[in-house]
Symmetry: C2
Subunit: 240 residues, 2 copies
Amino acid sequence: MNVVGLKRTEGTLKHVQVREYVRALIADAEPGSSAPSERELVARFGVARMTVRQALDVLVNEGKLERVPGRGTFVTHPRRRVGRLSSFTEDMRLRGLLPESQTLLARREQAGPGVARALEISSGDSVIHWKRLRRADQNIVCVEDAYLNEVLLPGFLQAGMPTSLYEALGERGLRPTWAEDSISAEVATEEEAGLLEVAAGAVVLHVSRRALAQEKVVEVSRTAFRQDRFTLYVQLGDVG
Amino acid sequence: MNVVGLKRTEGTLKHVQVREYVRALIADAEPGSSAPSERELVARFGVARMTVRQALDVLVNEGKLERVPGRGTFVTHPRRRVGRLSSFTEDMRLRGLLPESQTLLARREQAGPGVARALEISSGDSVIHWKRLRRADQNIVCVEDAYLNEVLLPGFLQAGMPTSLYEALGERGLRPTWAEDSISAEVATEEEAGLLEVAAGAVVLHVSRRALAQEKVVEVSRTAFRQDRFTLYVQLGDVG
DNA sequence: TAGTGGTCTAGACCACGAA
DNA sequence: TCGTGGTCTAGACCACTAA
């Protein structure tokens, strides 16, 4: 067996080297195909088996490898994803529709008590209020009222409003990584009905979102969806 | 140090014994408080340090413990959860309400084409159809129509219907670990309106769920919630 | 029977943090 | 200085799978 001969002095830890070697090996591998056996990696890298196991543990925890006692270690089949956090733009693209956004309002405001509490800032602090009518393949889908914490987004208004809020936040390193949605069925307000071009008293789906990036609230929003043009899909995973 | 003296012959693996000992220890512990050190557990259980580390690895991966090099191991502060997958019963308890369930129908049926496709079985296969009216603190909240894959649940109907479906599934090792919800705002059907005791044409929130355990679909359901008594809360995480 | 992963031992040296 | 977790070794026996 060809021993690679790792040098600890080169800085990289052995288990990291083994892990990244295997990670690269399986990156383009067929799901279900064999990964190198633990003892094979022991021989190849000249390390102890515990070290190899430590390396593989990470990949198993990441869901990339699966150990089968008595058989070997295998590349997992692609797994079901949990609770993806997507923006309207990305969501529509995933459904094969063309997202569009018409800004109805975009200005700096002083946060009222409700918005301040949701954004975890003080009443009167500067916020960006951005109201949009959103379409998919030309059809009106929803009205969105978003408030952004301006302290985190200096110069955001001046930069010109982007199409995708989340992509723009991502460019500033503030793409939300966690969000909490409150979802309810409602009767459209008069204003909503007018903007969505539905009859007064029509049914709408309301989604209120608080989105966090780097442990800070960057966006709170409230969106009213036309009932006939939108179903929300959510994937949920178990509590660990 | 008082050595407990584990016996492998008693069936439980040593690292499991250590893990569960620590899990119980930290269950009610203050966030940020110290867990026993690895060497302390080595002495207490008379096992090798690698065994203790294997035990703690699981708790660290579950997010219950945090290792700080040079300082020790600590109980983590409660983290934001992502996409928790809860049942109605658990959800209502979390909100501090008393969940109740009134069975309207519980019988074996032959799957129709739609249910069969959702459950990934064949048309005509046996399914359990369970329809319930559900209350929280005596107030009607929703009607739920659930179909269960009977092949996975032999004797389920005969066992008497439980209060919490998910807890009952858990006892059979089939608690869902992944689910997909489709959420929409709808106008109540005549039947829904009658059962929910709302006016004809009232607004309801519809949630259709496919729930999987061990990579198999165990439950598909469709629930109609009273708009005035239920808001759905969902936590979403980034795509890993 | 040979190979696999699962478990386990009894040590070792290191870098880091607190006293 | 001492205790902590991080890394690592060179073995061992087990249950299981496949040939």
